[in-house]
Amino acid sequence: MATDEKFSSIRKGLLEFLLLRIISADKVYVAEMLERLSATQFATQEGTLYPLLSKLRREELLDYDWRESDAGPPRKYYKLTAKGRTQLAELNRYWKRINTTIEELGHSE
């Protein structure tokens, strides 16, 4: 529980990064994102996801188009924009640097 709390702000910051990664792989809709995240430490809910997605869209990192679904109303399928791809590449590099730093400093048990 303690570790969980300690890293909650890190998870908060990383959620955006993870979303960009998920969306970069394929066009996805919200229920899929939630499902992919649900099994991880980054499990989240619609109440968090929708505002975050709209923020990313406002930053022009992603966009969506409507697509008919077999069951129910049309859904928003999200995809990365060119700007989103550049940013994701940057974040990937940054994340690698962070990982290297963590491993270089001290030894893990």
Partner: protein, 373 residues
């Protein structure tokens, strides 16, 4: 038999029972509140509604056309509270998230020190402190009584000062701020109901006899307000907390200045009577003593009036109306200050001392003079 309410969720019609409808509305209201200022608010809300609609569908089948309250609660728990994007998080468990959320908004709401009149014994100082430090008011009262006994009564002066300095919580927001509670519509309604019941009880019990007199006093005051041009506007409604603290602080300061002024004038008057001058300064020959006294009285009035007006304005900015307790306390404070200044003047200004000693014995000791008869 239960009432069914049909709702339109982003273009999808669903039937909910009454309880479910209430919780849905509370959820969407809070979402609306948290997204305030978000440029994409409308879009996010319709996404949310759509998501809820999709989930509702799961709970319906050809034999069940109404989404029950329990179903809806499950749906809303699944949705999770809508977070503004700055607070966007990926907390794991619902409970943890809710707890964090609560403490967050609790922290965000500024807690301020107010006098809380509801359920107070005197003025609400203890009540306000109890709310501020989140302890039982009885404990605060016991501490105050203990302090009063330990300090030989001096603590009462501290209480009186606090009565002036700490603003009254007069609006619902202020009352909420006194407890440090986030303020929202539901609390407003609950609080209003509670206060109304309390108010009715109280007014029945206490205010019956007072009402007529107070009404009379209020009318008189209103008439006086029209006449008194120096009183300035009643700015109480829209002054901020800081202004009110300052105003509350200024009331005793004005009282102090007023008392000091009074003492100076009285000493000057006595000096005029006894020596025909004010201490070393002798009256010019052309002014008789009575003339000097009249001039002194006029000067005193001229200085005293704006001071009193300023004091009254501070009073109104701080506590609104001048109610009995505070007015009485103000008078006591004035008397205390005046006595203190007389005593200080007697101790530290030799002229005053000699003046006092030059006063005939019978003046100084009226009781002895009385016995001598």
């Amino acid at each position: 038999m239960n009432t069914v309410i049909t709702v339109n969720l982003n273009g999808n019609a669903y039937q909910l029972d009454e309880q479910g409808f209430e919780s849905l509305r509370a959820y969407l209201d809070s979402a609306d509140e948290r997204l305030a200022g978000n440029p994409d608010k409308a879009e996010i809300l319709s996404d949310i509604e759509q998501a809820i609609a999709d989930k509702c569908r799961r709970y319906l089948n050809p034999h069940k056309s109404v989404v029950a309250a329990a179903d809806l609660d499950r749906i809303l728990a699944e949705m999770g509270p809508v977070e503004s994007e700055t607070g966007g998080s990926a907390a794991n468990s619902e409970r943890q998230r809710m707890a964090a959320d609560n403490s967050q908004s609790r922290k965000d709401a500024p807690r301020r020190l107010y006098q809380v009149r509801e359920g107070s014994m005197i003025s609400g100082v203890c009540n306000g402190l109890a709310a501020y430090f989140n302890v039982d008011v009885t404990i605060v009262r016991i501490v105050f009584v203990a302090l009063t006994i330990l300090t030989g009564g001096v603590w009462i002066l501290a209480y009186i000062l606090m009565m002036f300095i700490i603003p009254d919580a007069t609006t619902s927001e202020e009352r909420a701020a006194a407890h440090g509670e986030p303020f929202n519509a539901q609390q407003l309604v609950d609080g209003a109901k509670e206060r109304y019941a309390e108010f009715r009880q109280q007014s029945a019990r206490w205010h019956e006899g007072w009402r007529r007199r107070r009404q009379l006093r209020r009318e008189k005051r209103a008439a006086a307000a029209e006449r008194a041009f120096w009183r300035g506007e009643r700015a109480h409604e829209d002054v901020g907390y800081a202004t009110r603290v300052l105003a509350g602080f200024m009331v005793p300061v004005f009282t102090l200045i007023g008392a000091a002024l009074f003492v100076v004038v009285i000493i000057a008057m006595v000096s005029l009577f006894r020596t025909g001058g004010i201490f070393d300064w002798a009256l010019p020959n052309e002014i008789p003593v009575w003339g000097a006294i009249v001039i002194l009285a006029i000067v005193y009035q001229a200085v005293h009036m704006p001071l009193r007006a300023a004091s009254r304005a501070s009073y109104e900015a701080s506590v609104g109306q001048r109610h009995g307790w505070l007015a009485a306390a103000d008078g006591l404070l004035w008397l205390g200050f005046a006595a203190l200044f007389f005593w200080l003047a007697y101790l530290f200004i030799p002229e005053v001392r000699s003046l006092f000693e030059s006063v005939p014995f019978e003046w100084r000791h009226p009781l002895d003079a009385w016995h001598a008869f």
